[in-house]
C-alpha cells in the first residue's frame, strides 16, 4: 500500500469486494494505475472486468475506502464531478439523437455551458475525425466513426482519465487498429490515464503498459504484457491467451 501511495497512482484500489444480486463478482481486488499509464484489464467474460470498471466512475457504487482517485476516496467525491474527470467509453455506442456536434456538446451542455464550433473541431481532431463530421446526423455513422464520436464526446468534459470497456470489440480489425492508434496518441498528447478492458490478449500487448488478469473476480496475474504473454512463461495470462483458462471457468 505504501508503495502505491509513494508512486502517486492516479487510481489506487484497495481490497475491493463487490456483490451484485447476491453474487460475489469482485473479491479483494487491490491494484493501481499510475498517472499517464495505460493499464489493460484482461480476463474471460464474466470475470468481473466491467464491474471493476463501473466502480471507478461509480456507475456501480463501490464500498467506501476501496477506490482512491489521486489519493481521495471516490465515494466522498461529488459523483457528477468524478464522472466529468473520469470519462467512459462503452463497448456498444449509444449516440443521442441529433448531430455529431450535439453529441459532443452534451456533457458541457448538461451544466448549461455551450461549446464553440472551434472547440467541436478540436475535439473531433483529437478523435481523428474530420471537421465536416460535426453537422452529420449521429445515426448515419459507421461503427468506427460512432466510437470515435463517443470518444470525442467523453473528452469534451476534459477528463484526466478514461475507462474503456472493450471499445473496439464491435469494430473490424482495421477500425480497431485505428482506434487503438488514436488512443495511444491521446495518452501522449493529453497525458490521459487509461484503464482498458479487453478480452483480447493481443490488443493488451499492443496498447497496455501493464496488464491485470481477472479470473472469477480476483486478480490472478499482473505484469507487463510482453512478459505475461510469452509463450514459454508460466503465467496464467499466457494460459488465458492460449485459450486454456476458459475450461477452468466452467
Amino acid at each position: 500500500m505504501s508503495d502505491q501511495l509513494n508512486g502517486r497512482p492516479h487510481f489506487a484500489i484497495q481490497n475491493l469486494s463487490l456483490s451484485r444480486q447476491g453474487k460475489l463478482v469482485l473479491q479483494e481486488i487491490s491494484c493501481h494505475v499510475a498517472s499517464g499509464e495505460i493499464v489493460g484489464l484482461l480476463g474471460p467474460s464474466g470475470s468481473g472486468k466491467s464491474s471493476l470498471l463501473r466502480c471507478l466512475n461509480r456507475l456501480t457504487p463501490p464500498p467506501p475506502q476501496t477506490i482512491f482517485l489521486e489519493g481521495q476516496d471516490i465515494t466522498g467525491l461529488d459523483v457528477l464531478r468524478l464522472r466529468r474527470q473520469v470519462g467512459m467509453v462503452f463497448q456498444r455506442v449509444a449516440l443521442f439523437p441529433g448531430t455529431v456536434a450535439d453529441n459532443i456538446a452534451y456533457g458541457p451542455g448538461l451544466r448549461g455551458e455551450t461549446v464553440s464550433s472551434a472547440e467541436i473541431e478540436r475535439l473531433l481532431a483529437l478523435a481523428d475525425l474530420p471537421p465536416e463530421l460535426a453537422g452529420r446526423d449521429s445515426q448515419e455513422l459507421s461503427g468506427g466513426q460512432a466510437q470515435r464520436v463517443a470518444l470525442a464526446r467523453s473528452l469534451a468534459t476534459s477528463p484526466s482519465a478514461m475507462l474503456l470497456d472493450e471499445p473496439t470489440s464491435a469494430l473490424d480489425p482495421a477500425a480497431t487498429r485505428n482506434v487503438e492508434a488514436t488512443l495511444l496518441k491521446l495518452r501522449q498528447s493529453l497525458g490521459l490515464t487509461i484503464l482498458w478492458v479487453t478480452h483480447d490478449p493481443e490488443q493488451a500487448r499492443r496498447v497496455a503498459d501493464r496488464v491485470y488478469l481477472l479470473v472469477d473476480g480476483r486478480i490472478a496475474d499482473e505484469g507487463e504484457p510482453e512478459e505475461l504473454l510469452r509463450a514459454d512463461s508460466q503465467h496464467l495470462t499466457a494460459l488465458f491467451a492460449a485459450g486454456e483458462l476458459g475450461g477452468r471457468q466452467t
Binding site: R20, Q21, N57, R58, L59, T60, P61, V79, L80, R81, R83, R84, G87, M88, F90, R92, A94, F96, Y106, G107, L110, R111, A150, R153, S154, T157
Partner: protein, 256 residues
C-alpha cells in the same frame, strides 16, 4: 331492508337478458367456450350493481361529508392496488401508484369543488370521483409500464448519459417525457373526437334519463376537461415517482 320497489325497472332488465342468451348461443355454436364465464359475468354484474345502487341510495340520503371521504378513500385504495399490480416490476409499485392516484384525483376533485363546478354532495362527488379515480388509475398504469419498459430498453443510453456527468433526472428526461405522453394520449385523443365517433357514457346516460341534449353536452365538456387535468396530474406524479425508483440519489441506474 332491501326495498324491492326500488327495482321497478326489473322487467326491462330481464328483457335485455335476451341479448346475453343470444351471445351464449353464438358462443356454444361457434365453440368459443365462453358461456359459463358469461353467466358468471352477468350474475356478478347484477349483484354488484344492485348492491352499489342500494348503497348509493343510502349514501345520497345521508349525505355526510365524512362518509363521502371514506368512500373516496376506499375507491382510491382499490384503484391504487389495481394499478400497483399492473406496475409490478417497478420497485415499490403500489406506493408509486397510491401516491400518484391520490395526488391526481385529490387535486382534480379539490379544484372542481373549490371552483364551484360541483358541490360537495354525495350525489355529485361520488359519480364524478368514480370517473376521475378510474381514469387516473388507467393513466398511472400506462405511465408506470412505459417508464419501466423505457428504462429497461434504454439502459445503455441512460448509463452513457450518466457517465458523461448527467444527473439521474437529466438522463431519464427523454423517457419521462415518453411515459407521460403515453399516459395522456388516450384521453387527449378521445377528447378530440368526442361527439364525432361516439357519445360518451355520461352524456348517453343523461339523455336516456330525460335530460336535454344541451344539459348533457355541457356536463360532458366538464367531464372531458376534468379527465384531461386528472390524467396530466396523475401521469406527472407517476412518471416522476417511478423514475426515482430506477435512479438512485447518487445518479446510478438501479438493477432490477
Amino acid at each position: 331492508m332491501i326495498d324491492l320497489t326500488l327495482l321497478d325497472q326489473l322487467p326491462r332488465v330481464l328483457m335485455s337478458l335476451v341479448l346475453v342468451l343470444l351471445a351464449a348461443l353464438i358462443s356454444r355454436w361457434q365453440q368459443v367456450d365462453l358461456e359459463k364465464q358469461m353467466l358468471v359475468a352477468v350474475a356478478r354484474a347484477f349483484v354488484q350493481l344492485t348492491l352499489i345502487g342500494y348503497a348509493l341510495n343510502i349514501i345520497f340520503a345521508a349525505d355526510n361529508p365524512l362518509t363521502i371521504l371514506l368512500i373516496l378513500s376506499v375507491m382510491t385504495a382499490i384503484a391504487s392496488y389495481t394499478s400497483g399490480q399492473r406496475g409490478k416490476g417497478t420497485p415499490q409499485a403500489w406506493r408509486v401508484a397510491g401516491l400518484s392516484i391520490t395526488f391526481g384525483a385529490a387535486l382534480t376533485l379539490g379544484l372542481l369543488v373549490g371552483l364551484g363546478v360541483f358541490d360537495f354532495t354525495a350525489q355529485q362527488i361520488i359519480p364524478i370521483a368514480g370517473m376521475v379515480i378510474g381514469n387516473s388509475m388507467n393513466v398511472c398504469s400506462l405511465v408506470m409500464r412505459r417508464m419501466r419498459e423505457e428504462v429497461n430498453g434504454r439502459r445503455l443510453e441512460i448509463e452513457t448519459a450518466l457517465a458523461l456527468g448527467a444527473t439521474g433526472r437529466q438522463a431519464a428526461r427523454p423517457y419521462l417525457k415518453m411515459a407521460l405522453q403515453s399516459g395522456m394520449m388516450p384521453i387527449v385523443d378521445s377528447t378530440k373526437t368526442v361527439g364525432l365517433i361516439q357519445l360518451p357514457g355520461a352524456m348517453t346516460g343523461m339523455i336516456l334519463a330525460g335530460a336535454s341534449p344541451m344539459e348533457a353536452v355541457q356536463l360532458q365538456m366538464i367531464v372531458m376537461y376534468m379527465l384531461i387535468g386528472a390524467a396530466a396530474l396523475t401521469g406527472l406524479a407517476a412518471a416522476w415517482l417511478s423514475y426515482r425508483q430506477f435512479l438512485t440519489p447518487d445518479h446510478q441506474l438501479v438493477e432490477f
